[in-house]
Amino acid sequence: MKSIKTRFIIALIFSLPMLLEMLLKPWGVMLPGHQVTMFVLTTIVMVLADGPFIRSAWAAFKHHNANMDTLVAVGTLTAYLYSIYAMLTHKPVFFEIAAFVVTFVLLGQVFEEMSKTTANSAVTKLLSLQAKMAMVKRNGEFINLPIQEVKVGDLILVKPGEKIPVDGIIKKGQSSVDESMITGESMPVTKRTGDQVIGSTLNKTGVLEFSAQKIGEETMLAQIVTIVKKAQTSRAPIQKVVDKISSVFVPVVLILALLTYLVWFVILDASNVDALLYAVAVVIVACPCALGIATPTALMVGTGRSAKMGILIKNGEILEEINQIKAIAFDKTGTITQGKPEVTDIYGDQKTVLSLAAGLEQYSEHPLAQAIVKKAQSLQIEPAAIQNFQNIEGKGVKGVYRKKIVSLGNAKLTDEFEISVELSEQYHRYQDQAKTVAILAWGQKVIGLIAIQDTPKSSAKAAISALKSRGLQTVMITGDNQKVANQIAKQVGIDKVVAEVLPENKAMEVKHLQVNGAKVAFVGDGINDAPALSVADIGIAMGSGTDIAIEAGDIVLVKNDLQDVVRSLELSRKIVKRIKLNLFWAFIYNVIGIPVAAGCLAFLGISLSPELAGLAMAFSSLSVVLSSLMLNFEKIK
């Protein structure tokens, strides 16, 4: 079967002589064998280029369906068949109309196909990121294997400049990795032993050995592709109205065309030919396609663009709702804050305090303990060799160093030891700053304090203020104590704090915010906050590692940046705006085009010949696709 391009070229070649004749007619130039030549040329166009339209229209007709092909087929066949009748009865003919309309419609379709391929490219591009081969350790040697043969637990070697084939954990080596294609993060990320790597990202500087954790459909890339595909096939609610209109559109246009003919011929006493041409113009100018593609193309381009930025909008249905939200609630730990407590202050002799504290905590898994150990490491302070470890439930840890007891813990420990006024005052100062304080005692005396805090993300403050400037109420829902929560909220500028909430009650708190039907968004991590994410009108799940909680949330942010919350609001607003703009143009085009083609403005001397109608029709749907593509160039901060 011939492609659209071939059909267009055929139509163009055989229409050209007629176009030349039309242009040169004023100078008396005519095609040799005028009518018969035109008949032959047009017949070729009708069979080879218009044939498929007619065939589809007929097939659709048998199923009681009608579409754009129906309109093209009816319009061109009317002009063609009438011209044959006119030729036989020696009246003026209009073969060229049929030929030109077919040419223009096909031209429009060629362009449309090209731009649709561009609009559709997001998923194709994502899939093309996938590495094909991997250097896998088998029988003690690294060998090059197709990626399908990689198994979970395989040790994989990646050289600088190569793609990391699957998701995994680094076992050896250090490198900087370009993750922009997956997370949208433009700066390369430093990775060392123990860090996670994402398949399809680019290893830039060092040699890495990592163990494969996720392969095939489980990889982050595969999950992203699934989400994007689903989003692109989903339908925005506004589409439902459009679908109702498109389902009756073509038959209604056919009826309008018949009425046009009737009014001109019977009531206004126009000639048969003029009435016929008006009717044909109506059929040709009407464009159901522009309506049909207005929403899907914008959705496709928009969700594709956002995926590139690391923002996965899972469903077109939520786009309009996002624009109606009144409040946005955040989880604290890991969402507003880094989720990794850090030592902020040390009081006392830094070296002694840290060395003893790190010695006591070095084997503990507790996040606070790890913060202390990390701080000691970063200052290159060796942990002291402590003996006789002992855990004191609810208070802290204890051990022996240089024959004296050393203990580290919370305020309950101070009861037993002597503490100077100075240290005591400092202790309260830290507390007022909402820091968790660990107290270190050696022998019977308190010798130091370590203040630990989970610090807000660097992006938090700017993101919260951007959200507030959009008129949104910002709320923090956390299980942490009121003091700490208030402090963090103050630092980043959050309006309202709901503290000391048990994890299972977070969803309830979101419901409280939804009073009077106010739409509420919730931002949290996809694993612990899943209930709150689903209760919220819009659930925004922040990515963590390579798990992008497919089930939870309506929007998934691949990278851990709060500014992406603002960006996702911005993007969805742009997509909705674009859909509405597309629909507006598609409607307006038909609402204006059809009456003009029907000759409603003929009294002003304005009318639309069928050829021009064909051209207008072809470009109306093209313009909708191009308009959707503009979403790729919209500025997003």
Binding site: W58, H64, Q109, T233, L258, L262, G292
Partner: protein
């Protein structure tokens, strides 16, 4: 002459309205279960034949779309519930796997949502 034309045109209008707006109920076609799979061939020509396909829950299903129609209107098939959007090459069979783990009625359509079909899983 004008009276005849008027009558003819009005008759044509009535015919169009009747032909395109009447909704004829079509029977669903049960998929053929073959061992551990079930499959149905759907002809794409001016619409989807059969339009409604019944599938058994829990049995992996394949819908074989065969597009005869040259129209670009039908070149894509979209199952928005399953996140499937496939190009249907003309005069070739395009197999589409359907996840039958959930019961329900799932509509599918062409890329512009003008032609419709339905899959019923029970």
């Amino acid at each position: 002459m004008k009276i005849i034309v008027t009558i003819l045109v009005l008759a044509a209008i009535v015919f169009i309205a009747w032909w395109f707006f009447k909704k004829d109920k079509k029977q669903g076609t049960q998929a053929v279960v073959n061992g551990e799979n079930q499959a149905v061939t759907i002809n794409v020509d001016g619409g989807y034949t059969p339009e409604t396909v019944d599938l058994k829950k829990g049995v992996p299903a394949t819908l074989n779309f065969y597009r005869k129609d040259p129209s670009t209107c039908l070149e894509e098939v979209v199952f928005s519930d399953f996140g499937i959007k496939e190009k249907l090459p003309q005069n070739k069979t395009q197999a589409i796997q359907i996840d039958t783990s959930h019961e329900g009625e799932f509509e599918y359509a062409c890329g512009m949502n003008m032609y419709h079909g339905k899959v019923i899983i029970k």
